[in-house]
């Protein structure tokens, strides 16, 4: 049917496979105008956009890499500083311990010295008190003994020379026996 209609058409109409010159020319001109417009205006704009986009992405990546490198460097620096601080702290701690040790030693020595001093003073004081007491007791004892003896004997031993000689002798004897008893004890 198509075939017959084409045959029929061929008799009255131009064949569909024979180009019309006007259409060839028009088609060519129209296409060349379009091609010129696209080549001159559209394509460069698109290509420029693509380049911009590419450079923007690449620039972004470069920036990111740089930032990362910087961050890594900063981290290294911090780590180094931290290590330094740690050693310093350890050193300070050691020093402090040493110093404390020294101070303790000094204090102990001082305290011992003080203790020794206090003891010595106490001893000296005791010695002095003993001597004083001994002297006082000696006087008292002499007086009491004489009073007792005068009461018992009934006679006055007012005589100075005799009294002293007798009492002193008695006391020396007492001392010797007391000391002998203390050493024996």
């Amino acid at each position: 049917m198509l075939y017959t209609s084409m045959i029929l058409a061929q008799e009255e109409e131009p064949s569909p496979v024979v180009p019309h010159l006007s259409e060839v020319i028009l088609g060519l001109v129209a296409f060349l105008i379009l091609l010129w417009l696209l080549k001159k205006y559209a394509a460069p704009r698109f290509e420029k956009l693509y380049e911009e986009r590419t450079s923007k992405i690449e620039g972004g990546m470069e920036r990111a890499e740089k930032a990362q490198a910087e961050a890594e460097q900063a981290l290294e620096q911090y780590k180094a500083q931290l290590a330094e601080a740690r050693t310093e702290a350890a050193k300070i701690r050691d020093d402090a311990r040493l110093e404390a040790e020294q101070i303790k030693e000094e204090l102990r020595a001082e305290a011992q010295e003080e203790a020794r001093r206090i003891v010595a003073q106490g001893e000296a004081q005791l010695q002095a008190q003993r001597a004083q007491i001994t002297t006082e007791l000696r006087g008292e004892l002499g007086r009491n003994a004489i009073e007792l003896a005068s009461r018992i004997v009934g006679e006055s031993l007012e005589d100075e020379a005799r009294r002293r000689g007798t009492v002193d002798r008695f006391l020396a004897e007492l001392d010797a026996s007391g000391n002998g008893a203390g050493a024996r004890k």
Binding site: M1, L2, S5, M6, L8, A9, Q10, E12, E13, P14, S15, P16, V17, V18, P19, H20, L21, S22, E23, V24, I25, L26, G27, L28, A30, F31, L32, I33, L34, L35, L37, L38, K39, Y41, A42, A43, R45, F46, E47, K48, L49, E52, R53, K56
Partner: protein, 260 residues
Amino acid sequence: MGALVPAQGGEFSPPGVGDFFLPPIFLGVTKPMLLVALSVVIIAAFFLVTSRNMKLVPSRWQFAAESVYDFGRNNIAREQIGSKDFRPYVPLILALFTFILVNNIFGIIPIIQFPTMAHIGFPLALSVLVVYPVYHFVGIRRHGFGGYMKNQLFPAGVPKPIYLLLTPIEFFQKFFMNPITLAIRVFAAMFAGHLILLVFTLGGEFLLVEAGGALKALSAVSFAFAILLTFVEALIQVIQAYVFAVLSAGYIGMALASDH
């Protein structure tokens, strides 16, 4: 088809070549001529307006234009010509693709409804007067006349005696068949597709108006087919535009390639 023509009423005259050559609208200007001019305006406006103020982050229209440009640039030109040489040919391939696409799509746009490429003059102008000279020219410019002929007619890696047979075939193909088939492919597809749509539409109309009784109902089937085939036609129109652009780019790529 004859069975569909009912006995009563007027005679059904099937659509034919005559429907492709309507009388001029005014002063010898025909519908396809107007459509070609319109297509140039549409495509140029589309690309120039959307690319006037381009942003790195595209707007909706810019994105649409970029998608079409990308398709022509990366999927057709770069694939076929190779990433080293394709840049200068991007506008040509893009223009071929969009020009044929829009003119084909005219076939299913209401009121316009005529695929310009169904007139063989237009595809012939593109293939014989644009693509054909371009690919030979760039080939000769790249390899010199002798080198280009040797590349094209004496493919490497073939036993010597075979050239007796191969060279005439290659010559015939490269210098006669390629441009002709390129044009005829899109022309034939558009011509046949439009004719089929006409047959179903006009047949349905005739059945509805002229046929009697039960046959009137058959017009619905005819219209349904016309609608269905319109979708098929849309697919074919896009594919034909794509094929034309791909083959053109392929010819350019082959002409530029140092080895066959």
